[in-house]
Amino acid sequence: MPFYESISGIGLKNEKNITIVLDFGAAYTKAGFAGEYGPRVITKSEVKCRETGKMVPVFNYKGEDELRHHLVDFIHKLYFRSLLVNPKDRRVVVVEDLLGSSLVRDTIASVLFRHYEVLSVSFVPSYLVAVMTLGCSTALVLDLGHNEARIVPVYEEVPILNAWQALPLGAHSVHSSLSELLLDRAMTICEGGEEQRLSAVMDELPDKILEDITVRTCFASTVERSNRLQNNKYDRSIEPPPPPPSIQYPLSGSHIMTIPGTVREMAAEVLFEQDRDNLCIPTMILNAIISCPVDTRKALAENLLFIGGLAELKGLKHRILAEVRALVTTPAYSTLLPSISFKLHTPPAKDNYVSWLGGAILGATEAVVIRSVSREQYLSRGCVPDWCNLFYNTRDERDQKTL
């Protein structure tokens, strides 16, 4: 029996059974219906812990059981608070990260099939479907997510997996850097009016506040200003650029924090500071291109696609492109990538739900029927096929044998 098989009978156009599209993220989960142009809901990936009753991130778990509990409760909320349809006997498309953990994938499948008895599940690779939203077939996809920045180039619809890159440079790293800078430099005004260092009042800022400050006040500075700021660090005689205006930010408990302008500007600098292995986001892009076959490099460089919520940060896309263009002329890269030009795509969606949109486009086609795993198949086999499991990859041949 072929593992992937079209299940006839229930048409996709049958309005009653529109496919559900889910994109689980470390920070935000996007959920909606196939064939629609935006998700119905983008919600924090958080659930109430069954033991403590506190809100905890869905993908923070100690063991398989805890992850399963989180997912059961979280998916329940998605269906019965946002989507408002019966999960049973409906298809689901899950937009998955090719580099993600297989425990998460297996648990998602188990919860959908066993707890929610969905008709079928198809896992679609996020990078590939993100490219589909452009209407073209080749792009180098940089996903600026919550925990990580990840790159997978897609050439003629095929993800070039051996060129993948990932660094822990996501929104989370910006938040940590912001926290450090604020504790070092920010002042607070207390109820009485006296001014104090922030570090004297609290020793850490909650994640929610860090995210809020990043989203509302921070931006990625220009290359030129960033260089001047860097140089000033080492050589005080070089004038730093005049700082952007500071901001009064109300904290709980009648404290008002003054966020210095330089902090707003510098929080995102972590994304460009090379780490011990000389890696940062611009080097990731060039390294990914270099790992690809020579004849694909030009096309990839001219079709960059930045997705993920962090890409919404003001000035970030511009800055990455500028850094990449500067970096490619340095000796380390100029011989490998001579006369190469870079172009960036603007997806037809907000950056944080581009992959979801790709899933929604694919989910509205017959392709999803052909490539989904049905409940019967799952239950008789007890697992979902994995792209790196040869058992499922040699499918065409096995098909022939069983015929």
Binding site: S82, E157, P245, A349, I370
Partner: protein, 475 residues
């Protein structure tokens, strides 16, 4: 501790292995097993707007994207908006000297003072239904894109079917099959050749022009290094994600949000497909058509008073049992042995699994068994013998006569009796090295099944495992 039903002290062990308070457990009268939210299947029953309590049929709800047609939420603070009416003076276009007054409506938030006028939305001339929807700027492109991929996938499907029926042996392993969805685009060239290609597809495919990458990207606004930022004019994440498709960045882009509707849920037993809970259709009713909560079918156990136990000795602990059914209940307390219980569960699972494959008709999708913390930290000496719990009788409360005399109670077993309640004394010995005592017991009782179709005896014996958190231990 102040909870009326002591939800965190007395818990029942559901058939799926989860410990839950009696208020969160159901009794399936067909399977005669305890069920809970974790092991039943949930269904959307009816949809309604929580503000105007209007019912929405599911087709309409889908068209309206699960939002009410007439109620709005504040895009700034998500409180419900109210419609305000005022009148404005307008001058007649043909004669400027004549003015007339006209009624207009706008939306306003009574909590944060946001109004639809703040953000430049025009007042409406009708009280409701006037506010339009926001349009996705990529609408046309996305429409073509969807059509395009639909046509391609259709063609690919036909191609596959043809291939399968012709029994052709594929000699190579397609690379694209291996790592991706077999290339929808790569096979573009095949589409026009396919004899099955639906008519008109070619035109649809050609209308989709892929997006072009550009070498110019919008940088920072020029004034970012000099302009003061007014924090309250920039939206926060909640405000952005409240309209996921648009994600407004400044408060001037906020648009009234149509109120999200809510479902009434019904619950169904996975094993026998009977409803365990089904709400009434009317949104303003809080009653149920079917409600098989354990609270109405299983005697409720409570600790009579909370005590601190002494370590190493027997402590008297009093519990009360209450009969919620209109039938007398004979019950007994039996010891609970977690190990034996788990073993029995495993056996049952095996035999159930066998049945499913043999029958093959109804296939029950089993959820994984949960493992709860069943560790007992105290020994309990249970009163021996049976007790009869009087039927619940709502008029009994007004009766003063002494019920106790009607039952020949063994004072060793029954501490007191009042209407449909009975008090019983347990002797609890905390284990050494524990700070909190948890005991287990099995409540065995005769349940009068009133299901009309019940094939088994009307009176059945049920065993309900219960864990009681008796309290802390003092040294």
């Amino acid at each position: 501790m102040a909870h009326l039903f002591q939800v965190d002290r007395v818990k029942l062990l559901c058939s799926c292995g989860v410990l839950k308070p009696i208020t969160a457990i159901y009794l399936c009268r067909h399977c005669l097993k305890l069920r809970c939210g974790n092991c039943v299947s949930h269904e959307v029953d009816t949809l309604f707007c929580p503000n105007c309590l209007e019912n929405l049929p599911s087709t309409e709800a889908r068209l309206k994207r699960n939002r009410c047609g007439s109620c709005f939420d504040c895009p700034s603070c998500s409180h419900t908006l109210v419609t305000r009416a005022t009148s404005v003076q307008t001058t007649a276009p043909d004669d400027p000297s004549k003015t007339s007054s006209r009624k207009v409506y706008y939306l306003t938030c009574t909590r944060c003072r946001w109004t639809s006028r703040d953000v430049g939305l025009k007042d409406q001339t009708v009280a409701s239904g006037g506010w339009g929807e926001q349009d996705n700027e990529h609408y046309r492109f996305l429409q073509f894109l969807m059509e395009h991929y639909r046509a391609l996938a259709q063609a690919e499907k036909l191609e596959r079917e043809k291939k399968r029926s012709s029994h052709r042996k594929s000699t190579y392993l397609s690379l694209s099959d291996k790592y991706s969805l077999p290339s929808l685009l790569g096979r573009k060239s095949l589409t026009p050749l396919s004899p099955y290609s639906p008519k008109g597809d070619a035109s649809q495919i050609s209308e989709m022009i892929p997006l072009e990458a550009s070498s110019e990207v919008e940088g920072l606004p020029d004034d970012i290094f000099t302009e003061e930022v007014i924090l309250s004019s920039v939206t926060n994440m909640e405000q952005r994600m409240a309209s996921p498709e648009f994600q407004p960045e400044t408060v001037t882009e906020l648009y009234p949000l149509r109120k999200h509707i809510l479902p009434k849920r019904s619950l169904r037993c996975r094993h026998c497909e009977h409803n365990l809970s089904k709400p009434e259709y009317n949104p303003s009713s809080i009653k149920f058509k079917i409600q098989l909560g354990a609270f109405y079918h299983v005697p409720e156990v409570r600790l009579v008073k909370s005590i601190v136990l002494k370590a190493g000795v027997e402590n008297g602990v009093q519990i009360s049992l209450c009969n919620p059914t209109p039938h007398d209940i004979t019950l007994a307390l039996l010891p609970f042995v977690p190990e034996a219980y788990l073993q029995a569960q495993q056996k049952e699972e095996c035999s159930e699994g066998g049945l499913v494959t043999q029958g093959g008709l109804v296939r029950v999708v089993d959820i994984p068994r949960e493992t709860s913390d069943l560790k007992l930290t105290g020994d309990v000496a249970l009163p021996q013998g049976q007790v009869i719990l009087a039927a619940r009788d709502d008029t009994a409360e007004y009766d003063d006569h002494d019920a106790a005399s009607a039952y020949k109670d063994d004072p060793q077993v029954v501490a007191w009796r009042r209407a449909n309640k009975v008090g019983m004394n347990l002797l609890v010995t905390p284990h050494s090295d524990t700070t909190r005592v948890k005991i287990g017991l099995v409540l065995r009782y005769d349940y009068t099944n009133t299901v009309a179709t019940a094939t088994e005896a009307r009176i059945v014996t049920l065993n309900v495992p219960i864990m009681i958190d008796v309290g802390p231990v003092s040294e």
